[in-house]
């Protein structure tokens, strides 16, 4: 993304301004709560208590967080390459198909710790495959990746409905879902970990996928900032001209970046499909692919930002579900609004506050003892 405004110190650029944007987003969300006739402060308290107040709530919060880490990373990796991957939803959906193939074939044969890497590989492979065509079309034919990935979300949805009401549905069943996996294809819950802290996980579906997500975050950090490929991806994202001039193979980088992004989105399916429902259901990603856009923008594309951003949205999802019990006027759709507001203020309007903050900073600098760089900050 271009930054046509004056340069500010890093702590303002990466700390203060994103924080202010987030505050504005939540203030506007608070306004909506007011319009609906509830108290925003009370709603926030109920939400926090629902998300962190007891063991089961924490378990659900972290379960949602796990999904959002994957989809946030999927969007962020593509962002670094200057590509906007809106297709996380479809890629995750297809990832679930990969898992189902492994789980139905090997679920009764292998133990879970052998099935996990196999299913993860299949999920990443299917997710990556779904990103391949948009990536190739962007690289070779110049078709806009935003449009193609949106189209592929719809195509994925149609394809999966076709499979789930047809070939994948067990005979005699009315529900559009696959048969339930055997024990070998269900991932263990993390209740043991919770008992260490004297808490109970209850019915929360938090499972070992959390560690896969954390490993994926580490992988993305190493990839983007510590490898040659990552350097090439960032170069392409900042300046395609520079990348071309440096002799980097544009097509290869675009395709590889999108394959990695698609693979990460596909891995997200591990969490609900193998970790919670033990079967492939219609629309199981339930918007997680889109939450990834907000998570990536809020986390500024860095795993260190994406993890807390994913936690925030995990909290909103779980807290929002609890909130709906106490305040029926505020259903889970409130999260969709907050998600939109975060994308708007942290993404599209990221420069709205910048001139003001820059001018204020410039004035403070001039009044302060060190006035050397004064005036530099004013746009």
């Amino acid at each position: 993304m271009s930054r046509p405004f004056a340069k500010l110190p890093a702590w303002i650029d990466y700390g203060l301004i994103p924080l202010l944007n987030l505050v504005v987003a939540f203030l506007v969300a608070g306004l909506v709560v007011l319009v609906v006739g509830e108290s925003p402060a009370e709603a926030a308290m109920l939400m926090l208590r629902g998300a962190f107040g007891y063991g089961e709530g924490v378990g659900f919060t972290l379960y949602y967080t796990t999904s959002f880490i994957f989809t946030g990373l999927a969007v962020a990796v593509a962002f670094h390459g200057g590509l906007f991957n809106i297709g996380g939803e479809g890629q995750a959906y297809l990832g679930g198909l990969g898992i189902t193939v492994v789980a139905l074939a090997l679920g009764g044969i292998l133990p879970w710790w052998l099935n996990l890497p196999l299913a993860a590989a299949a999920a990443a492979l299917f997710g990556a495959a779904w990103a391949l065509i948009p990536a190739w079309l962007q690289a070779r034919r110049g078709s806009h990746i935003v449009i193609t990935t949106i189209m592929f979300n719809f195509i994925a949805s149609a394809l999966m409905v076709y499979l789930l009401v047809g070939p994948l549905k067990p005979a005699g069943s009315m529900n559009p879902e696959s048969r339930t996996f055997e024990a070998g294809a269900s991932l263990p819950k993390l209740d043991g970990l919770f008992e260490l802290f004297g808490a109970s996980l209850g019915g929360a579906p938090l499972n070992v996928t959390l560690f896969v997500a954390l490993a994926a975050a580490l992988f993305v950090w190493v990839l983007i900032w510590r490898t040659r490929l990552g350097y090439e991806i960032r170069t392409l994202g900042h300046s395609p001209k520079a990348a071309r001039y440096a002799g980097m193979a544009e097509t290869r980088i675009i395709v590889v970046t999108m394959l990695i992004a698609g693979g990460l989105a596909g891995l997200m399916a591990l969490n609900p499909v193998m970790g919670d429902q033990y079967r492939l259901q219609i629309d199981f990603p339930a918007g997680a692919g889109f939450v990834g856009i907000a998570v990536a923008l809020m986390g500024r594309g860095h795993p260190a930002g994406i993890l807390p951003a994913a936690l925030l949205f995990g909290m909103l999802y779980q807290g929002g579900a609890e909130l709906a019990f106490d305040m029926p006027a505020i259903s889970r759709d409130m999260i969709v609004i907050i998600q939109g507001l975060v994308i708007l203020f942290a993404g599209a309007l990221e420069n709205m506050l910048r001139p003001g903050v820059g001018a204020l900073y410039g004035r403070l600098r001039r009044q302060g003892p060190v006035g050397a760089e004064a005036g530099k900050a004013t746009a």
Binding site: V35, V36, L137, S143, I147, G166, A329, M352
Partner: protein, 322 residues
Amino acid sequence: MDAALAINIVDSTIRLSTPLLFAALAGLYSERSGVFDISLEGKMLIAAFASATVAALSGSAWAGLLAGVGAAVAFGLVHGFASITCRGNQIVSGVAINFIAAGLTVILGQSWFGEGGRTPPLTGDARFSDKVLPFAQELSGVPVVGPIYSGIISGQNVLVYLAFLLVPATWWVLARTRFGLRLRAVGENPAAVDTAGISVAWLRYRAVIICGVLTGLAGTYLAVAQAAGFNRDMTAGKGYIALAALIFAKWRPVPILFACLLFGFLDAISIRIQGVALPGIGTVSVQFVQALPYILTVVLLAGFVGRAIPPRAGGVPYVKER
């Protein structure tokens, strides 16, 4: 295939194409001015909700129309502010607006009417009713012309006629007026327009407002003419199909008409085709027909069936030289 069925399919094709036509023409104005807009979906949705709400409360479809247009223009101005004034990423802004509209319509609908996001059913004057054109009854007996006139052309509602009239009007505005020339220029080369002493920002804002008005009409049509009230997520991806039609038509008004009719036709036959064996193909699954607009758009974007080239300055915020 008998004539009655053919008339029936053409009639529902026209009804299903209308919202696509409004939305695709809306996108045309915005994108030809250099502002990419994937928030057609969100603007249609908020307009559908606002129009159904006001129509239900006031009992007047025309008041609903005003509210729907107003809501869509307001959301359009948010998109304009983000992408023109703040020079933000236009795709990101569009995504945000789609989410805000999806959430807001349900939250407000649930809070005001308490029916799971639905608005009260509209009856009588609160809906745009079908207009029977003069002589429709008398001519229906005449062979060929009669059924076409009375079964297809007559008996649509005001908004359908408006949508189809907007196609030549849009062509005329874009191709034959000064405003249209400048609008197209600002989407291709804003610096040249700026040099001529014309405000790039104001031109683009006007395009964004027109886009809001037309998406407002699209949403109003869905909730107040086609259906009788608002349902949660009632646009169901129509904004994206309209976007696909816009690209499929290579950003030109008359081809947009045919693209929308094609996608409306696919929608109309997708229900009827279930379980029917086509000669030479066999049975086609409903899901395949539903996915066909998206598949066709991808194939077109790939450049295998003629090339779709977007306005050159699309998606790029204009920075005035300093």
